[in-house]
Amino acid sequence: MPNFLHSLASPARFQRIANAVLPWVSVLAAVLLGVGIVWGLVFSPPDYQQGDTVRVMYIHVPAAWMATFCYAVMALLSASFLIWKHQLADLAARAASPIGACFTAIALITGALWGKPTWGTWWVWDARLTSVLVLFFLYLGHMALSAAFDDRERGGRAAAILACVGAINLPIIKYSVEWWNTLHQGASVFRMDGPTIDNSMLWPLLLTVLGFNMLFVVLLLVRIKSELLARRIEVLQRARASGRG
């Protein structure tokens, strides 16, 4: 497995694999998201307490999961970039960070829209909301740092160090905030005694979660590919300019 991952680090091989995988993953993402969202928004039953408001869940929960998942992916990519100096890991980590920030923003906004009718307020300084907000700030810091240097390589390494430091601190921040204040409901899917959510809601939720995961893969691959192309254009332009000069 590690050998396979290292072989992926070659841009040419990566592009070949990415081109082969991309159409399949795109179709899968579209089908999962399409079925999951239609099922969740139209055919799944309304909640006995929250009514139709509960349908926000089918967007909110997957987005919130992806928010943390993206950070984990980004931190792993950053660590492998620092350890093995794979350029592609740097590209991928930087491509993952805006995607993660978007998922985090979606989770925050849909959370606010869900909070208004159910809790009666757009925003409360509750533990989960606050730690997701802090996660959003960490993404912003990562993006700002990786773009703050004239030398791209330098920005990538600095951002990679920041991502690793953030990954160590994230659990500490999460648990301190949780200790500080809690109103958000606890976990209802991943529990030792099985999910406390009915199957009629669990299935569309699982579909949208998988769909969001596939969407992340698609976006990540497209972003890495376009970044590779952008670099190639830059090299070609430089070669052309020096050829004329």
């Binding site: 810091g141 740092l145 690793c164 921040i173």
Partner: protein, 221 residues
């Protein structure tokens, strides 16, 4: 050990002899705190209720504005390269600089905090936990902030960036610093909060020292 102490001594001498640079952070701390009574009104009850929070948040901000010059001057005049080449590991040099930074900012802010508490009508029982919390919490700020300061070396608009990078990392210190004060005020034991602040410091020590040293090596390449 000599080299370690020499770095601390050098940073302290530089800060005290170069036109009162050390006083800048304290000046910021006092001025920023003075703004709060204008912002929320001068009623003593209200100020007393939020005094500990004002002091802690302002201490965080004062630390943040001071990070910009933690490594920058040394980077510009080449001192940092000599430190990296010296037999003393760069990690220890970073630790020495963090200690000097704490003595100049964190410790000074901690000593000033009771005076500020007096002006903000801080409840009497809160002085002890406030100062104890700041004593344990501010070294962690110096250590974690060093990472941010080292990462933005050579970046465009580095100063504003440091705040965005390090303030989220400071959140646990703030939470437990405040909870130490709040717990004492409602009669709960103080020790657990101070122990957690100590634990945060114990985490910040390796993370800050190794993180900053890695970022400095990157900046020196």
């Amino acid at each position: 050990m000599n080299a370690f102490l020499a770095i601390i001594g050098r940073d302290l001498r530089l800060a005290t002899r170069r036109g009162g640079e050390a006083a800048l952070t304290l000046g910021f701390f006092v001025v920023a705190i003075t703004l709060f009574p204008f912002g929320v009104g001068p009623e003593p009850e209200l100020l007393g209720r939020i005094a500990a929070g004002i002091i802690w948040v302002t201490a965080l901000l004062a630390a943040t504005v001071s990070f910009d010059r933690l490594f920058r001057a040394d980077m510009e005049d080449g001192t940092l390269e000599l430190l990296a080449l010296a037999p003393l590991p760069l990690e220890l040099a970073v630790l020495a600089k963090a200690i000097a930074h704490w003595l100049l900012t964190g410790l000074a802010v901690t000593l000033l905090a009771p005076v500020m508490g007096l002006m903000l009508n801080l409840p009497e029982a809160a002085y002890g936990p406030l100062v104890a919390g700041l004593l344990l919490g501010t070294p962690a700020l110096s250590l974690l902030g060093g990472i941010g300061a080292a990462l933005v070396l050579g970046a465009r608009r580095g100063g504003a960036l440091v705040g965005l990078l390090v303030l989220p990392l400071f959140l646990p210190v703030l939470i437990f610093g405040i909870s130490a004060v709040e717990a004492t005020l409602i009669g709960l034991p103080l020790a657990p909060h101070l122990l957690i602040l100590g634990a945060l410091l114990a985490v910040a020590l390796p993370v800050g020292v190794f993180g900053s040293a890695a970022a400095l090596r990157l900046a020196l390449e």
